[in-house]
Symmetry: C2
Subunit: 193 residues, 2 copies
Amino acid sequence: MAPRGYIDAGTKWYYILHPRPVYIILAEHAGSANFMAASWVMPFSEEPPRIVAALEKEAYTTELIKESAIFTVNVLGVEHIDFIYGAGTISGREVDKLSILGAEVSRDTITGAPRLTKPRPIGVVEAKIHRLLDELAGDVYLVVADVVAAYADESLFNTRYGWEIRKAKIAMHSAGRAFTTNNGLYVARRKRS
Amino acid sequence: MAPRGYIDAGTKWYYILHPRPVYIILAEHAGSANFMAASWVMPFSEEPPRIVAALEKEAYTTELIKESAIFTVNVLGVEHIDFIYGAGTISGREVDKLSILGAEVSRDTITGAPRLTKPRPIGVVEAKIHRLLDELAGDVYLVVADVVAAYADESLFNTRYGWEIRKAKIAMHSAGRAFTTNNGLYVARRKRS
């Protein structure tokens, strides 16, 4: 029973917290690499630098992360939504998802986990599991991970304010096949006290 | 040492995972209500419906949440960034932040926690703490909370696809005083297999 003027979101309650940046998460174990799309990933702690991610227990990439303890979070521009949607809907457990989607990776990372090189991400966070919590929900793990390295396209990011928000077009997931990106720069007036 | 073409994000690593929707979180305990801005909040589990939030241990609103175990997450349109910035920079511990920022609340919620009514949010999630994890980082709690109710502006949200992404203009935090919003609808082509 929602207040007047509002509609109860029902089972789609989580869309109230969307749109969100969507990432490609890559991992590898025993010679098998795979990746998936995920938008339920966020910064958690500045110091120590840590992120949290909600990872589907049944996903193949999650299995690789659990085994290897390392993964990369890759930020793509909105021009790559077909790739992202494919990454989020094809399972790499029985097919070669990298090949099907034309993805290429590099292992020149600090952790050794593969990072995406094609399509070229505009930002990458290399992460290592700090804690994997399996009893906080049904079919997802809550993964708390240390940030081992983090870098972004030098033409789109600066180390003071982050993204050049008028230039970088971050892929964000709205719902299903629907995506969006950031629009314009809005600057808050400084509060006078 | 970032790969060629990339810049190391340094201490601003978390901006790689921005811009993100930014929320106003409200709570109340023993007659004292307060609110703060937060963007490190995300859906965590569909079933059971749960969210996670990174909450600064020292924040007054966090203290109220810890005492009462209930809070609301309020989504605002980008036209309210001055309010959001004020909410994120003024502490309500020693001043009446609601009054200073002209906020109004209602307690007509299932949980009894205050929800924002002025400025009018376009979406609200009512939450109740499931677990408060205090040892996963230094100065933040990781709060895992049950979603008790969730509703959104009936003219901007539908229960199938969520936000009408061309109409709703969600406030998103970029960095410091810089905000952005969503831009347009991009639809992924269905992957043919």
